[in-house]
């Protein structure tokens, strides 16, 4: 409006002075001011900005497609439309670098030129380099007028989020296979309980003859087998010790060890779940909520592994309490008989007494010494009569392919 006012003032002044050229300048100023006003009022009207993530989960090393769509749903063309999406500085977009903002944060900047009713979809790829929870947005939209001057801006409230889970690798047991729980390891994940009849299902080759429901087969005219509810599974909780060997963590330092621990824990959880165990996870760190302890109760349901991996993805790098306190607290939350797999990269001496107490209380404990000193750590635990094995990745956490457990 300043341009319009200045233009009118020039027109009035020049009219008295009879100087047409200045009237011309005044009229041009009025026109350009009016143009700016039109785009300031209508520029962002009908502009739709969308982010589309086809999935919200990724594993470190994956590429997650991200589509950003803008749609100018009006007859007014836009010289430019800029979207500044707030982004986590750890986020990596293959096609574009994140731009540092004045506030110290980072942003994904995009700009388009849009014809009337034009919709533009840009296909980006997010590289999942590190585990974590990522949020893109909210976005600030800025629009230019016909003369490409900044005309209007607004902030759109929506965000897009995704979780990058840690990698999981194959687990190779070098030692004789041991039982995780109180029962012998079974080849099948779920054990049928013959006392809990639950109906029939179509016969499948390989079903035992004793399992065929002969009466139902005769009635239906096709073979059907009996179906039973599963028996109670063995329960295993992986207790992850993220404390640094020899002292407290420094922010930003020793990240690789935490990442390696997460990869090892994810691999163990996947292995256990594959063996049919009901798995859970506990760690003395923030897991995305307000509680200082991260915990997923053991369960054998289908999405349980995903829940555990999500918690590992959210796990902060700094311990929020001592590992001993975590182990002590588990007694109150975990059913007796549940196996505890303790994964730690530090000297077990401070928490050996707690482990022994847990074993006496009916919680089978297995200690896995992790990291470069794994054999020594495992030996120390074994010396204290705790079943223990060394566990080591066969390379850096980004490229490792196997987690070797024992000897």
């Amino acid at each position: 409006m300043r341009e319009v006012a200045l233009g009118i003032a020039l027109v009035v002044l020049a009219s008295f002075l009879e100087v047409p050229a200045i009237i011309l300048l005044g009229l041009v100023l009025v026109a350009t001011g009016a143009v700016l006003e039109v785009w300031a009022r209508r520029g962002l009207a009908g502009v739709e900005y969308r982010r589309h993530l086809p999935r919200q989960h990724a594993v470190v090393g994956d590429e997650l497609p991200l589509d950003i769509t803008v749609w100018n749903r009006k007859a007014l063309p836009l010289a430019w439309l800029q979207a500044i999406d707030e982004a986590d500085r750890r986020m990596v977009v293959r096609e574009r670098d994140l731009a540092p903002e004045a506030s110290g944060s980072f942003a994904l900047r995009n700009a388009w030129t849009l014809a009337p009713y034009e919709r533009v979809v840009r296909h980006f790829h997010i590289v999942a380099e590190r585990r974590g929870v990522y949020v893109l947005g909210p976005a600030r939209l800025e629009v230019g007028d016909l003369l490409a001057r900044p005309a209007a801006s607004e902030t759109t409230p929506g965000t897009a989020g995704w979780i990058v889970r840690p990698r999981s690798v194959a687990v190779r047991m070098v030692v004789t296979e041991r039982r995780w729980g109180g029962e012998l390891r079974a080849r099948r994940g779920l054990l049928d309980d013959p006392t809990r009849y639950a109906g029939v299902r179509p016969y499948q080759p390989g079903d035992p003859l004793r399992g065929i429901h002969w009466k139902a087969t005769a009635r239906l005219g096709r073979p059907v087998s009996k179906r039973f509810d599963p028996a109670r599974q063995s329960e295993v909780v992986v207790a992850l010790d993220i404390e640094k060997p020899g002292g407290p963590w420094r922010p930003g330092g020793e990240d690789d060890l935490v990442e390696s621990l997460c990869v090892a824990a994810a691999s163990l959880l996947r292995q256990l779940r594959g063996e049919g165990a009901a798995v859970g996870l506990a760690a003395a760190a923030y897991g995305g909520g307000s509680r200082p302890m991260a915990y997923v109760a053991p369960a054998g349901s289908e999405p349980q592994l995903g829940r555990c991996l999500d918690l590992l993805a959210r796990l902060g790098p700094l311990p929020t309490a001592s590992f001993e306190r975590l182990l002590t607290g588990l007694v109150r939350t975990v059913r007796p008989g549940t196996s505890l797999v303790v994964l730690s990269a530090r000297d077990p001496a401070p928490y050996l007494a707690t482990l022994r107490r847990l074993e006496r209380s009916g919680y089978p404990v297995r200690h896995l010494g992790f990291g470069p000193d794994a054999p020594a750590l495992a030996a120390r635990a074994r010396a204290a009569a705790i079943e223990s094995s060394p566990a080591q990745l066969d390379g850096p956490w980004r490229t490792a392919t196997v987690l070797v457990v024992g000897p």
């Binding site: 027109v11 009237i23 011309l24 030129t113 296909h123 929506g158």
Partner: protein, 468 residues
């Protein structure tokens, strides 16, 4: 989606050799023309004031600005730290060239008093100014150079030149006004286009778009700039007397209105401001003009004196030139669009479509609120929620999953990028539905009304306003 005209966006940076390069250089070229134009106005003022013939035009000054640019681009990278000193020398040479272009300067130099040559051709010194202005554009836009608007400097200079130019005695005044008007028109057109195209280019290079792929925008830009000048040039001669007349007679009706409705403080203020403005304008006019404030009237029976008219041939020629520039830009951009190479790996893949949202119908003006209700439209809050679910079901991301409660579905929409635009509308609809159906609560008429409004809002955001 209708009216789809999908096309791949050509990628900035690898355009057709000729059309692309010309279009890339266009903002800078236009900026040089603008710089030359406003310097030409100053030149015309100095020559008019000295009652001398106006020999150099805006083309010459634009040429000197271009020479500055070329010199800078050629020498600055080679000379490095020595470039500022070299620039001063080059500007001095350009000044001398303009100064010596006048035969009177040579005569004075060869006379017995050669020092008098310094004042012989003051306008000629301005070639140095044009040269220096050209140095501002030595950094190419591709290397991060920005085409800055010359208006903050040029507009006050042009305005002062015309204001003071009114005091020049004839025939210098008319010569100045005629020459300067053309330069002013060219300045306005070229500066507006240069800045708009330059800004769009700079933003496009940083943000990954190219203005050449938006013919609607640059077409409208050229149309508005040309149209503004086509209207403003004749209007600048017609508006003046009207404005004077309106301001002269406005206090009288205001005075009578005041008498009828009674003077209040606001009306008194308006009258005082008008009187004060009028007085200031009269004083300024007396200072800068030798004529009278009001249009001159001759003796009885004679036609009043007409305001000066522009040289229509020159102005029309300028306009035609502008139209020609506009057409050239359009043709070059169209060539570039056709010849632009395909995208390479590493670029952001992009799809462009024109989507009017409704088959065969554009989202036109809003319909009357008092239209007849269609079959199947919701009548209360629970049916509004169910209707909303039907609307959302067409989109895989937005539809309610079979394992979701209404609240979970609404929460997912609110926190997701695509559903975030609905705000809390779906939450509130779901809450109403749950209260009415599962909580057996009686909702108020107002809540039913608000729920229907939320349903309409969701439909509008989905682009289905007005559809059956």
């Amino acid at each position: 989606m209708s009216g789809s005209a999908g096309r791949e966006a050509p990628v900035a940076g690898r355009e057709a050799p000729v059309a692309g390069r010309v279009l890339d250089a266009l903002p800078t070229l236009l900026a040089l023309v603008a710089e030359g134009s406003w310097v030409a106005v100053v030149y015309a003022f100095l020559r008019g004031a000295a009652q001398e013939e106006i020999e150099l035009g805006l083309v010459v000054f634009a040429g000197f600005a271009g020479a500055g640019l070329l010199t800078g681009r050629a020498l600055a990278p080679r000379l490095g730290a020595r470039w500022p000193a070299a620039a001063v020398v080059a500007a001095g040479l350009a000044t001398a060239a303009g100064w010596l272009s006048e035969p009177a300067t040579w005569s004075a130099l060869l006379s017995t008093a050669p020092m008098s040559a310094l004042g012989a051709n003051p306008g000629g010194w301005l070639t140095g100014l044009a040269f220096v202005r050209g140095l501002a554009y030595i950094r190419p836009p591709r290397a991060g150079g920005v085409v800055r608007s010359p208006m903050p400097i040029a507009l006050p200079v042009i305005a002062v030149a015309f204001l003071v130019g009114g005091t020049i005695a004839e025939p210098g005044r008319s010569a100045f006004r005629d020459a300067a008007l053309t330069s002013t028109v060219v300045f306005v057109a070229s500066a507006m286009l240069a800045v708009a195209l330059g800004r769009a280019g700079t933003l496009g290079r940083a943000g990954g778009f190219d203005w050449r792929s938006n013919p609607a925008w640059y077409g409208l830009l050229l149309l508005v700039v040309t149209g503004t000048l086509l209207v403003a040039v004749p209007a600048s001669y017609a508006v003046g007397p009207v404005v004077v007349l309106v301001i002269a007679i406005l206090p009288v009706p205001l005075f009578f209105v005041g008498l009828v409705v009674g003077f209040d403080r606001r009306l008194v203020k308006v009258l005082l401001v008008l009187v004060a403005v009028g007085a200031v304008l009269i004083v300024i006019f007396r200072l800068f003009s030798s004529g009278s404030v009001l249009p001159e009237t001759g003796p009885a029976g004679q036609v009043p004196a007409q305001p000066p008219t522009p040289d229509w041939l020159i102005v029309t020629g300028g306009m035609l030139l502008l139209v020609l520039v506009a057409v050239t830009i359009g043709v070059l951009a169209a060539m570039w669009m056709r010849q632009a190479p395909q995208r390479e790996d590493g670029d952001v893949a992009e799809e462009r479509t024109v989507d009017r949202g409704m088959p065969g119908r554009s989202p036109g003006p809003r319909r009357s609120r008092f239209r007849l209700r269609r079959r199947g439209e919701p009548t209360d809050a629970p049916t509004a929620y169910l209707a909303t679910l039907r609307e959302l079901a067409s989109d895989q991301e937005l539809e309610r999953h079979t394992d979701e409660t209404p609240a979970e579905h609404a929460r997912r929409l609110r926190t997701s990028g695509t559903g975030g635009r609905f705000g809390a509308a779906v939450d509130l609809l779901a809450a109403d539905y749950e209260l009415a159906r599962f909580g057996a609560s009686a909702l108020t008429p107002g809540e039913h009304r608000r729920a229907l409004a939320r349903w309409r809002r969701v439909r509008a955001l989905l682009g289905r306003a007005g559809s059956p």
